[in-house]
């Protein structure tokens, strides 16, 4: 998931649009999570908000029976087949949502400050590796924290221009020093 730098975002925080990758919404009973871990090849975290990543695959627990999965796009079909194989005995729902969202990566010492412009949650409580479904300027987003100064925002496609525009406005505002 190599981020490429998009121009037109002057400011202390680098804002980049992440190229397409495979993204799934997994819904499965918490009791059956082991089967899902096996199919995905990654041990799924079981505490809400927590994430896990290895070998190009990543998973975050977003709700009591909900996980967000990321993988390399070329592995999409392979992953769907792996899940389909155990669906008969372990019911679940794996929905491909690669195109539903656009992901914005932000990096910089002031990234959290930039998010605080329109994200109402206490970002200090989202530790690196965690994820949370929240809002940014009234648009629903999933916020992933990759490091102290590194976040990703997953935004529904049609809300992306609105969210991205405000990030750019606010990034310029940060640059102004006021």
């Amino acid at each position: 998931m190599n981020a490429h730098v998009t121009p037109n975002s002057p400011g202390p925080v680098s804002l980049t649009i992440v190229p397409p990758f495979a993204r799934f919404s997994l819904r499965i009973a918490a009791a059956s999570v082991e089967a899902a871990s096996k199919a995905f090849g990654l041990e799924l975290p079981v505490k809400i908000g927590q994430g896990q990543a290895k070998d190009g695959r990543a998973a975050w627990c977003l709700g009591p029976d909900e996980w967000l999965l990321h993988a390399v796009e070329t592995e999409t079909v392979q992953i769907m087949e792996a899940f389909a194989r155990f669906r008969p005995e372990t019911p679940h729902s794996l929905t491909l949502i690669s195109d539903r969202e656009i992901t914005i990566a932000m990096e910089g010492a002031r990234a959290a400050e930039l998010l605080s412009v329109a994200c109402p949650i206490d970002l200090a409580r989202i530790h690196p590796g965690m994820a949370k479904r929240t809002v940014f300027d009234s648009a629903q987003v999933v916020l992933l924290r990759d490091g102290p100064d590194h976040f990703r925002l997953e935004v529904w496609r049609s809300f992306f221009p609105h969210v991205h525009e405000l990030l750019q406005i606010a990034n310029r505002e940060l640059a102004s020093g006021y």
Partner: protein
Amino acid sequence: MTSFRVKDRGRVKADRPVRFSFDGVAYEGCEGDTVASALLANGVHLMGRGFKYHRPRGPVTAGSEEPNALIGTSRGVGRFEPNTRATVQEIYQGLTTESQNKWPSLKFDVGAINDRLYMLFSAGFYYKTFMWPRSFWDKVYEPFIRRAAGLGKAPVDVDPDHYASRYLYCDVLIVGAGPSGLAAALAAAQTGVNVVVVDEHAEMGGSLLSEPSVGINGKAAWDWLEATLDELGRLPNVRLMTRTTAIGYYHQNMIALCQKLTDHLAELPTDAPRERMWRVRAKQVVLGQGAIERPLVFDGNDRPGVMLASAAQTYLNRYGVKVGNRPVILTSHDSAWYAAFDLADAGAKVGAIVDTRNDIQAALMQQAKARGIETLTGHTATATSGRLRVKSVRVNPVRGGRVGKARTIDCDALLMSGGWTPSLHLFSHTKGSLHWDAEENVYLPGQQTEECHIAGAGRGLWGIAAVLEDGVKAGTAAVRALGHSCDAVRFDVSDDRTGNGVTHKELATDRSPGRAKAFIDFQNDVTAKDIRLAVREGMRSIEHVKRYTTNGMATDQGKMSNMNGLMIASDALQKEAPQVGLTTFRPPYTPTTFGTFAGYHKGSHFELTRKTPIDSWAEEHGAAFEPVALWRRAWYFPKAGETMHMAVSRECKATRESIGIFDASTLGKIEVSGPDAVEFMNRMYTNPWTKLAPGRCRYGLLLGEDGFIRDDGVIGRMRDDLFHVTTTTGGAARVLNMMEDYLQTEWPDLKVWLTSTTEEWATIALNGPNARKLLAPLVEGVDISADAFPHMSVAECTVAGFSSRLFRISFTGELGFEVNVPARHGRALWKKLMQAGRQYDICPYGTETMHVLRAEKGYIIIGQDTDGTVTPQDAGIGWAIGKAKPDFVGKRSLSRPDIVARDRKHLVGLLTDDPKIVLEEGAQIVTDPNQPLPMKMIGHVTSSYWSEALGRSIAMALVAGGHEKMDQTLYIPMPGHTVAAKVTGTVFYDPAGERLKVE
């Protein structure tokens, strides 16, 4: 020009002059001055005109509570602001200011005639004066009142400034950086918790800025202040914010702050916001808001030069400005005596200290005597003189309740103090209860509802030592509540100016109180007489007195007038103050710009607009757009010279004759997945789903528990355990929420999961007799011939190389397909289809054509042909109900007597007698156009269009008992004429559905 600047006093930078203008005259002030302090330094007291009587006015305070010195400020196009408080606005090089509410000039104002006519303008005068004749209200009275109401000019240009917002979490938020706030900060900060200290002023220190003579811990007040701010500023866990007003205190310790960032700068930095709204969630809050001095109420207490004694002290000690050379002090509180001493020490000749009290501390009397200041105790003030500036005050002794002989004392400033009112505004926002202190005649904070601590003068304490100690107490309590303990912080205070005082209703007078212009609310021009009149005319609660007199209803929210108004009302009613009440304080604490509230929501960022992946193509091809829910959708695609009517007719014709292409991406999509998916669908939708085979789809109808139609859409069964549900564009979120609600609360046992896929797919609809011809060569993985892929089929395949979910469905009555591809490919697929469709003259169409084509077929639009009170039977789609199903949402309601009643409004077709007339949607329908008014309306037109295919107008309507009125003629009365129309079925075009069967 006389300078009233006092050398070696004040905190302004005397060596840094700042030029600005007021009413076109250039003035010089110093860096650190406000407009008010700089004008006063130039001997200018006259800064405005009163609202109602247009009396000359000068600043009465030195802070944000200022009711009089309201000015207009400007710095170029769009940057004009009316009603700026001169006592708050800092000066910068080139600042342009002007006075308000005057014509032709501030010194000579024609509107001042109102002052002579003041008897006409008593409380409630609008209601009394403008009653008759009734016909005058709209044309004469109301426009007059509206013009007269409100100070200043409303800005007319677009505001070019940028406004920002931020969320902030902290452990302890301290509001007010006076001695109590700073002491709280010192106590709290040492524990390492996150502390935020805000203050509305340009610099922190509060009352310490006006009281340099006090000593704290062996240091002069200002040295201690500097050291303290330096210490706090260096702590990583402390954030100090100046020019930041806590404007509102909301639930669960959410505090709104307005931070002014650039209004004090000569040059506006690029991209810097003018103001920023902070939404702070604090675990603990310390309110150190202090107290506001009360004016005394007596005839002529509003002349320029009459001001609060504490303000004069602030102008002297903080800004180095003497407000007059011959001030007279008029007071009922010890604090004003110190103002007199400071002014005398700065070289002013204090005319007298007039105190309403008989017994004064001996120490004060001695200090006055030492300075040669005459003291008049047990006195009242009964008048002042001076038109544009106070010239004298008339004082009388009061002995045994009798007002004695008057004496006039010359003065150029009259400094009053009627005691102090603790600032309860933010505490009051929390709806915490207030406690009436009958001894001091003040309200104090009572029972708390939030995690907050009130410290210092804000809870009635007086003296620097007392408030410092109280601040430590509050700060300690705050961190203790967070589970921390902190070391005791102690202060050793010297030269503290403690004291006390009394409060009054209007001061006693030997003249007619009815003729006294004794002001309570300076901004709204309310006098003591108005309050008494309101009581005489039947107002019993302070809330009624307030509304009748407008006392406290100006932008200062009665910071200085509420308590005086209450004292007088309670006297007039002969009731204790708490029985008369206290008006409610509401956010914002001080006037706040709309910009601060709007934040980033302006221009292109004003409101979120959702666009489809194909939107850019539509825009490039000249589409007209319409908003649908949050989306904008292509409405029609006009060619050069085409009207909307022409474009829509062309699009309809092209689609029916060959092929039309339509962006249906906004349709809501929900993936219903799991072994119990079919059971869930059976329970949610009216239709039966069990026998629907994978690869087939069906029209689904969703009701509410009340049996009324909520949503509809075509639903495909992808697998035994997977449905692809579509919803209306506007209903997507609502339907998903409704489904989740049932799933989580009613049927948690069902193994089924819901995922929104609206934005995963771009959806392109192809309709028309050539649809298959166009599509077939592009499809791989499924045979879409008529037999292999009949109407209401769905398959996974590829279309033009893109993985796809392909539906054969129709919302037009023509052969139709809907191609879903991953959203990122939507535009590419559209272009390929346009390219491939050239041979068939493919025609892109918008939502208007979609509406016409579906209306010709009688297909309903949720929210247009239904309004939340329409049942499936009413809408003529009872066939969509699975009669054999044991249950579904809304089933039970469908058998209620009123739901099965025969006279319910039914959806019917309407054909106008004159085929050229297109009815107006929303028009009312009657049976007899000749009946007397008001006519009995039996329904309304829901959909109405020109049908190009039929060469006439068509309409649908909800009509009472409509299904039994077939072939009857009904009437639609319109302005000037009445339209006759015949009731028909709703399917106007191809009722047999032959056109779907294209081979």
